[in-house]
């Protein structure tokens, strides 16, 4: 009965519908990257062209802003990942007074409105006399600040899930604490660290509210888009958006393929050769 089928699969279909809905704007972004606009001010699809893809830096200030965002993103990622990883180790592996206070401190930035964080940072910079020196460094400081929490949470989750028998086994097998860390602990935590770094980069790259308040004369990519939103958006903005989307999909697919490969060989382990005991018992029986 179709009624039954619908009922059983209703939830799944609704879920997939919601999922599809999240991709609609992306489809528009991709589409618009091929757009040949008739008027700068009216944002709609007028005609197909490869022009935008072939001349991505037609507006040089866009590529400049893009460059800035990447610079800041990389720098913030490196610092936040290192500091955050160290902190995650401290919270999971070490016991000290103030652990719960630290946990709270780490959590708060994730739950604060960006406008408030941005405002307070600006207030700090102005009060410290840096009001006239807002730019790359103030942006970087802000980005590291809000990326830290996400790094700690991500690495901490991975670290906490590690079987500590493994480290004991390593020491049982003559590995000193330093060798145990570099040969067993670190390789196993690394995927978490990598994921945290990727998360950190995308958070930094995409930030607008905090950045805008503390940027001075520097322009990042989101700030650039905000600026042109009123004046007329060059379609190359959608090229950037599409490229970003493709990169993230590529990373996702790569990760998925790797884990599927592993699952496949798990499903068909090669059958164990007969043990000596089994062979012996067969011999004895004959």
């Amino acid at each position: 009965m179709t009624g039954r089928w619908i009922r059983d699969h209703l939830v799944l279909m609704l879920g997939l519908l919601v999922l599809a809905y999240t991709f609609i704007p992306i489809a528009v972004v991709v589409l618009m990257s091929f757009n040949a606009p008739e008027s700068r001010l009216i944002y709609r699809f007028d005609g197909f062209t490869m022009h935008n893809w072939l001349n991505p830096c037609e507006d040089p200030s866009m590529c400049q802003a893009l460059g800035r965002s990447i610079e800041i993103g990389l720098a913030a990622t490196v610092v936040a990942t290192i500091l955050g990883t160290l902190a995650a180790f401290a919270l999971v592996r070490h016991d000290f007074a103030g652990r719960s206070a630290s946990n709270l401190l780490i959590f708060l930035p994730m739950a604060s409105p960006e406008i408030v964080m941005g405002s307070s940072l600006l207030a700090l910079f102005v009060a410290s006399g840096l009001g006239g020196q807002l730019g790359f460094w103030t942006i970087l400081v802000a980005h590291i600040m809000f990326c830290l929490s996400f790094v700690v949470v991500t690495v901490r989750a991975r670290l906490a899930g590690l079987d500590d028998n493994l480290e004991q086994a390593a020491m049982d097998l003559y590995a000193t604490p330093s060798q145990t860390f570099w040969r067993v602990t670190f390789p196993l935590v690394f995927p978490g660290i990598l994921g945290a770094a990727l998360l950190s980069f995308s958070l930094s790259f995409d930030d607008f509210i905090i950045t805008n308040l503390n940027a001075g004369n520097t322009t990042t990519f989101p700030m650039y888009v905000w600026g042109v939103a009123q004046r007329g958006v060059p379609m190359q903005v959608n090229v950037v958006g599409t490229v970003m989307f493709l990169i993230s999909i590529a990373i996702v697919l790569a990760g998925e393929l790797r884990s599927r490969q592993r699952t496949k060989s798990l499903a068909n382990p090669t059958p164990a050769p007969p043990t000596l005991a089994e062979e012996l018992s067969v011999q004895r029986a004959s």
């Binding site: 079987d163 028998n165 049982d172 097998l173 003559y174 060989s265 382990p269 164990a272």
Partner: protein, 389 residues
Amino acid sequence: MSQVAEQDKTTASGGEDFDGLRLRQVTKSFGAFTAVDDLDLDIPNGSFFALLGPSGCGKTTTLRMVAGLEIPTSGSITLGGDDITFAKPYRRPVNTVFQSYALFPHLDIFENVAFGLRRRRKSDVEAQVNKMLELVELTSQARKKPAQLSGGQQQRVALARALINEPQVLLLDEPLGALDLKLRRSMQIEIKRIQNEVGQTFVHVTHDQEEAMTMADTVAVMNRGVIEQMGSPSDLYENPRSTFVANFLGQSNLIEGAVTHRSADLVTVDMHGIGVSIPVARAHADGDRGWVGIRPEKVLIGELGEELDAPGNSVPGGVVTDVSFVGVSTQYLVRMPWGQELQVFQQNTGHRRLFRQGEQVELSWRPEYAFLLDYSQDAAAGAQRGAED
């Protein structure tokens, strides 16, 4: 090759030059909880030693102290004369096969097995690893990751990884627990074979009494942080010295009685009006009351007045209350005049008839199979494996 150590209850008799594994007054407390209580143990080199006991008895803690993964609260551990009580695990000539195998998931089988050799900067790693993989028959799996192997294969990798370092003592922490019955049996035989071949001391921790008795030369039964009894499997089984051991290994009938007479070689006990005798070597109770113990398979069951082929202690007045056919044997529950139900196992040799529920029977056993235990001990101790805390 291996030595059968005839030990009295807990202390060992090794001399000053004992070069095996020696634990002296080892205690481990976690806060208010004492896991291991004043333990003394001598394990000679080259023996296959089993530490047997219910969960929570302290056997794993003891093992971890030998491995260096725990530090004793007090006491000392020496190996070959060297004090290793506080030595770090990576400085002890001791390796462990973990219960969960603890194979490194990010390394392939070859590198897992080679791990210890590489840390010790041994040369000729490849040849040794290949030889070890041959020994455990995993050569074809060398480049796979642990997750791609079955449970039995992983177990062998864990064994190989530890053995390859030729430790003075190999510790096995319930390594066969996760395997199914058939695989467990074949692994038990294989591990025993390997121990014979390599000749190193194996210390095997388990809660499975059959496993301990099958594999080990010497078994120590642990309960609540202390060793109840240590000796060869047959020693422990046939002549238990405490109710815990009597119930934990196999099953026992424990019948209360009053000691009436002690001579040079016999102890006579009045067991609810019936006189039974027990050889002095098997009487482990002073005082005027005791538990008379007899294993169910040693009890003969017959019709009233029947002449049993083994004249011994004769106990009339039983009524069969339950009959269970178990294939190999028939297991009876017989209610005695004093209310207790005794277990009787009769092998189905085909020579004797089967009794029916409600029949009146007479029981009998040879005096040399009975034992006498201290009355102050709990007759139910060790009876339910795993229920002990």
